[in-house]
Every structure is written in structure tokens, then in C-alpha cells.
């Protein structure tokens, strides 16, 4: 199932051919799309900056989720329990609604945030030189282009190195961008690292969105002589360094402000 197959026809007409980064849907509310960093409302004739005369979503979020899951919600259940699921084209649906912690399921969906992946050549010479020299961390606010940069770094490194990509959420290896990489899809980063180190002889391990649980296996990768490149949600260098506490693991911290605007700092 692809993104355009599960959206209402009038929404598809509004966004067709545009570089959409994000789509926000809410029950009985307007549809907003982020195109090249700017927010627009979907109207009958196309897109508008103003919320006046906007068309309201005429299909429920429950129905959109059902369509997106291709009528097979059971396949995506484990992901939905964590509040998201990813389509085959890499579009990641973040869901919100009434959650039941007992069964770890959503009883109903009230809003959806769709992140559309993009394959953009954005890793410049400075960044590539840094990631080849040591461990690198890409940090920035949400939607600042960290994953887009990470994807391009993986692609470029894979031309002449063994690159293992741990694609935990299925939104890194999209289309044929990472054909030269060994992709471990839908596995946790911990499991992926173990499999990569034991079986895939990597020069680089690439994974997205570090969290507190990942601090346990990071030293293992470094001591194995493998470089790691990852991302972190942190608004500035200070917050990124605070995440790791006293342990200084990464050699380079690359701040992502937006796609194409990066600041590389050697630690």
C-alpha cells in the first residue's frame, strides 16, 4: 500500500507532484500539509495559506488507518501499539486517539501525522569527511532533516564500505536508496547491532533516533572497531551532550537545522 492510495481523492489532487514533507489529518477538521517547510491548508481548488473556505476531512481517521493497513490491521498491530506504522513506500503514520493500555491497542483514531520520506543528496564533503573519521551524531528538533541526511550518508558511504542499516521503523531504507547497504528491517537496535557485529562485518552501523535504552550497547560497537552514525532529538549541542552524561561517545556532533543546513562540531 502506498500513501496516495489511502488518502481521499481531493487531498491527493492537492498534493500531487509536490514535495510534501508532512500531512496532518484530524477527524472533521481541515487537512494541513507541509511542503518544503511551509504549512498549507487543502482546499477544493488546491492549497491555501488561509484556513478560510477549507475543506473538512470527509472520511474518518479510523477508515484511513484501515485503508492504509490494507484491511489488515493485525499485520501492523505491534507497530500501532507504539503509536505508528510504516507503509511499503516508507511513509510513516503517527496516530493519536483513544489508547487502551490494557490491550495495548487503540480503540479509535482521531488524528494522523504522516511523515513522507525524501531521498535528497544533502551530505556535503565536510560531513562525509567527519563520518569517515569517527562516530557521528546528527541532532536537531523534529522535522529538521536528520533522517534525510542519515539516509544520504548511508547511501554515499555504501559505495565503498560495508554499511549496515538498522531500520527499526521501516522508514530509512525507502525506494532503492540503500541498495548497497545491508538493511536489518523491523528489528530493535540492540538486536540489530548484535546481528550486524556477528554476521555482517560492518565498517559502519547506521541507525535512527537514539533513546535512553540505547546507551547500553553504544560502547560495544565502538570497542568492536565499527563506526556508528545515528540521530538524536535535541534542540542544541548542550542538550545533545547532556543526553550522554559523562560518557563522551561520539567524535562529531552535527546539528541539523533543516535539510541542507548543517553545522558540524568536532568533540
Amino acid at each position: 500500500m502506498k500513501l496516495l492510495d489511502c488518502l481521499p481523492g481531493w487531498v491527493v489532487n492537492c498534493i500531487q507532484g509536490k514535495q510534501v514533507r508532512e500531512i496532518r489529518l484530524r477527524n472533521n477538521s481541515t487537512v494541513r500539509v507541509n511542503i518544503a517547510g511551509e504549512w498549507w491548508y487543502c482546499v477544493d481548488a488546491g492549497l491555501s495559506k488561509s484556513s478560510e473556505n477549507c475543506k473538512v476531512l470527509d472520511i474518518s481517521c479510523n477508515e484511513i488507518v484501515r485503508l492504509a493497513c490494507n484491511n489488515s490491521i493485525y499485520v501492523y498491530e505491534q507497530m500501532l501499539a507504539e503509536g505508528f506504522f510504516t507503509l511499503t513506500d516508507g511513509s510513516r503514520f503517527g496516530v493519536a486517539g483513544e489508547y487502551s493500555s490494557v490491550g495495548k491497542v487503540f480503540k479509535g483514531y482521531t488524528s494522523i501525522c504522516i511523515r513522507v520520506p525524501h531521498c535528497i543528496e544533502c551530505a556535503n564533503v565536510e560531513i562525509l569527511s567527519a563520518v569517515r573519521s569517527g562516530n557521528a551524531l546528527l541532532f536537531g528538533a523534529p522535522a529538521s532533516g536528520k533522517t534525510t541526511l542519515l539516509r544520504d550518508i548511508a547511501r554515499q558511504l555504501s559505495h565503498n564500505s560495508a554499511v549496515v542499516v538498522i531500520d527499526e521503523r521501516g522508514d530509512l531504507a525507502v525506494s532503492d536508496t540503500l541498495v548497497n547497504c545491508d538493511v536489518l528491517r523491523w528489528t530493535s537496535k540492540y538486536n540489530g547491532v548484535e546481528m550486524a557485529l556477528r554476521c555482517l562485518s560492518p565498517n559502519y552501523i547506521i541507525c535512527d533516533e537514539l533513546c535512553a535504552d540505547d546507551l547500553s550497547w553504544l560502547p560495544r560497537v565502538s570497542s568492536a572497531g565499527v563506526k556508528i552514525i545515528s540521530t538524536l532529538h535535541a534542540k542544541n549541542l548542550q542538550k545533545a551532550q547532556e543526553f550522554f552524561g559523562d560518557y563522551s561517545f561520539f567524535d562529531y556532533m552535527i546539528h541539523c537545522e533543516c535539510v541542507g543546513q548543517y553545522c558540524c562540531v568536532k568533540i
Partner: protein, 148 residues
């Protein structure tokens, strides 16, 4: 001469009608046999394998009877089923869009019991389906004689 033609045509007509009913019985049996198997395998798919329903249907239809495959993939008319059987099948396939796997498995268990019971009844009655052709010929003869 005319009488012979009338008799022959009515016997032939009776034979064809008998064959039609025999075929309906056979199709009904095949459909419910496949439906029973489908429910069992779908439950395994939902619990373990977890491939999407459309893909599962496509794979299953490759080893099922033509009548079931046509309904599964194209929702072709199942006129050979009775009204109650059609309602059961429609209700079953509607329930496949359950929101959780637990709910779907419950639905599959529930419908399996109903479908299995229906299949048992159909199996029993289909043993006598060969009678349809003979009955058809007999009725054809009787109609032919009446028309002569």
C-alpha cells in the same frame, strides 16, 4: 416423429436440469469445504505468519476451488448458495475488518463453528446429489409423455 422429438427434448431437458442441480450441490460443497479451510489458515496467518489479507487471499485462491477463488478475489455471484448461506458468508467477510487481532481471532472462531456446521449438513445432502440427474430424467420422461 414429432412425439419422439418431444419426448427426446423433454428427457434431455430433464437431464440438463438434473445436472444443473447436481452441479449446484457440488459447488456448494466445494465452497464450504474451502471456506472451512480458509478460516483455519487465516487464523494461523493472523496469529503467526501475519501477511496482509489481500496477499493471503491471493495465495489461498491458488490452491482452492474455482468457485471459492472467484468469490474470494472478485466477489463473484454465489447463486448456488441459499439465502441464509449467502448472508452467513457476507457477514463472515464483513467481520474480517476487525480492529485488533484478538477480535479477529474471536470472529474467526465463531464463524468457523457456524461454517463447519453448515458444511456438515451440505456434506450429508450431497451424498444424494447423484439422484438429481436420475430425477431430472424421470421428470423429463413424464413431461414428455404428458406432452405427447
Amino acid at each position: 416423429m414429432t412425439n419422439i422429438i418431444i419426448l427426446f427434448c423433454s428427457i434431455l431437458g430433464g437431464f440438463l436440469v438434473g445436472k444443473h442441480f447436481e452441479k449446484r450441490e457440488k459447488c456448494r460443497g466445494q465452497f464450504f469445504a474451502d471456506l472451512t479451510k480458509y478460516l483455519v489458515l487465516l487464523k494461523t496467518n493472523v496469529s503467526v505468519t501475519r501477511i496482509e489479507l489481500a496477499e493471503f487471499d491471493k495465495e489461498f485462491s491458488q490452491s482452492s476451488s474455482v468457485v471459492f477463488a472467484n468469490y474470494l478475489l472478485k466477489r463473484e455471484d454465489i447463486s448456488f448458495l441459499t439465502k441464509q448461506q449467502k448472508a452467513l458468508v457476507a457477514s463472515l467477510f464483513d467481520s474480517l475488518s476487525a480492529t485488533t487481532s484478538a477480535q479477529l481471532i474471536n470472529n474467526l472462531d465463531y464463524y468457523y463453528q457456524l461454517v463447519n456446521a453448515e458444511y456438515s449438513l451440505i456434506s450429508n445432502s450431497s451424498r444424494n446429489s447423484f439422484v438429481c440427474v436420475k430425477l431430472g430424467i424421470l421428470v423429463g420422461v413424464m413431461v414428455g409423455i404428458l406432452l405427447m
